[in-house]
């Protein structure tokens, strides 16, 4: 069938279900697979040193091997997962709480909002020498940096949610004489929930980035440090295996949290 030219601009037309005989999502897979195959062939062609690049198949098989390595699983993986969970939980709780206080108090809002706005312009990881001086190289500076890094995105999203409660609903609350805690539980939180969830998904991504990056520059163990050490030792296989592992891990964690949170999102019902 011939596609007739449409008067509707292409950017507002819905995505076609099939492109060139394949369903649209299949093309995403084809692109990634093509890239993987290209790297594999390039690495095997001998045009590049094994110190610089190894075949993807070796990266994957080595990262699967790492999963059987007790030191890696307990010393690196588990530790990083716990740090990520701790930072994420702290920033989720603190972020929603700060946003609530900002939404409720004009003064707090005025005082805090400028920092929220410019926060991501700061190269926060440059703070790490200060952290080392103050807290040493243990878990405390990692959790602090990661919480700080992810809490701001949680705050700004939750704030959007709290502030987008329609004024008419606020009037309803007033006319029913709802207490502050009732307003929070029955109106503000549920109304802001979709935005809060969006913030939490980003917050997890930011917590993962921050924990791994901080481990890379500051820690003596952990996933980030595995990659860093392999890199310093010219152990290219372990380095790439670590990178593949970390990427897949971050992707899966985000997808899992996204799916779990979407179940609570009333806009998706």
């Amino acid at each position: 069938m011939k596609a007739r030219s449409s008067v509707v601009p292409s950017y507002v037309r819905p995505t076609p279900r099939r492109v060139a005989g394949l369903p649209s999502p299949a093309w995403t897979v084809v692109l990634v697979a093509g890239l993987v195959v290209a790297i594999e062939l390039y690495a095997r062609s001998g045009a590049v040193s094994r110190l610089d690049l190894i075949p993807v198949s070796e990266m994957v098989s080595r990262s699967v091997e790492l999963l059987g390595d007790r030191d890696f699983v307990v010393g690196a993986l588990l530790r990083s997962v716990l740090l990520i969970c701790a930072s994420f939980t702290a920033s989720a709780v603190a972020g929603v709480a700060v946003a609530y206080v900002m939404a409720r108090s004009r003064w707090v809002h005025r005082a805090v909002k400028p920092y929220v706005n410019v926060f991501y312009a700061l190269p926060i990881f440059a703070l790490y020498p200060v952290m080392v001086v103050m807290f040493g190289t243990g878990v405390v500076p990692i959790i602090l940096l990661a919480t700080l890094f992810s809490v701001v995105i949680v705050i700004s999203n939750a704030l959007v949610g709290f502030e987008s409660a329609p004024p008419i609903v606020t009037k309803l609350a007033l006319s029913l004489e709802m207490s502050r805690s009732q307003q929070l539980r029955k109106i503000l939180l549920p109304s802001a929930l979709p935005d809060i969830l969006a913030g939490l998904k980003l917050g997890l991504a930011y917590a993962i980035i921050a924990v791994l990056a901080t481990e890379f520059i500051l820690a003596t163990t952990g996933l980030g440090q595995v990659v860093n050490r392999a890199y310093n030792n010219f152990n290219t296989v372990d380095m790439y295996a670590g990178i593949v592992f970390v990427s897949v891990f971050a992707l899966l964690a985000n997808l899992a949290l996204g799916a779990a949170l979407n179940a609570f999102d009333w806009r998706r019902r």
Binding site: P166, I168, V169, K171, S175, L176, E177, R269
Partner: protein, 275 residues
Amino acid sequence: MTTQMKEKRDSAPTAPTPIVQLEGVEQHFGPVHALGPVDLTIGRGEFVSIVGPSGCGKSTLLEIIGALQDPARGSVEVDGAPLTGPRRRTAIVFQESATLPWRTVVDNVAFALEVRGIGRKERRERARELVELVGLGGFENHYPAQLSGGMRQRVAMARAMSTDPDLILADEPFGALDEQTRMLMAEELLRVVERIGCGVLFITHSIQESVLLSDRVLVMGRRPGTFIDEVPIDLPRPRMHAALSEPSATAAQERIWAQIRAEAEVAMVATRSTP
């Protein structure tokens, strides 16, 4: 409390106190004189409509009676007592749909009861009855986004009924609906209100609607709004849409329209000359 009881007895032992009594009520927002002075009495079970040009202070008046804002001047008594805060038996139906999009129809209707601490089983039972009453049977578990504007406004109506009100304040509740839906909803509201027997203050910009529904229509002049006319509507109840073509109904509509038109024309010229 005791002085009120005494007043009640002193003034008119047989006539019940009106549900709403306003004297000299005014509202100012900074330099803007928004409303009044206004005197208003609404009897128990009486249906009173207010029509007037937009911006004349109708919503302000309604919010004052609903205790959503305090008047700058004047006295407000509801059910014989000076108003100190939102009353439990005053229900407000807002213009935009004030339904909660994360709750189903039943849970929306049960919301006011939930806030007042009624148990889950009891409030759901009551909500289901009301959902039936406003003609939404079968949509109990739908979300507001799945309903039309008219159906959402029925949900808001059912929620207003849920707390056994003796006074309903409705601020252009059907303003966002199309003409046909609006007429149907108006008949529906009449049916429900007649069943409950509560007093109603109804704000609308539709003259037809005001005549069809009310015992009395008050015409408000341009800002600062005061009542410039009071039109009694002597049509038999129960009323249906056809009642609008009776001679007394058309006369009432003509009379109201003449007043509003004069006010609106002056208001338009006034806004044009003071940019």
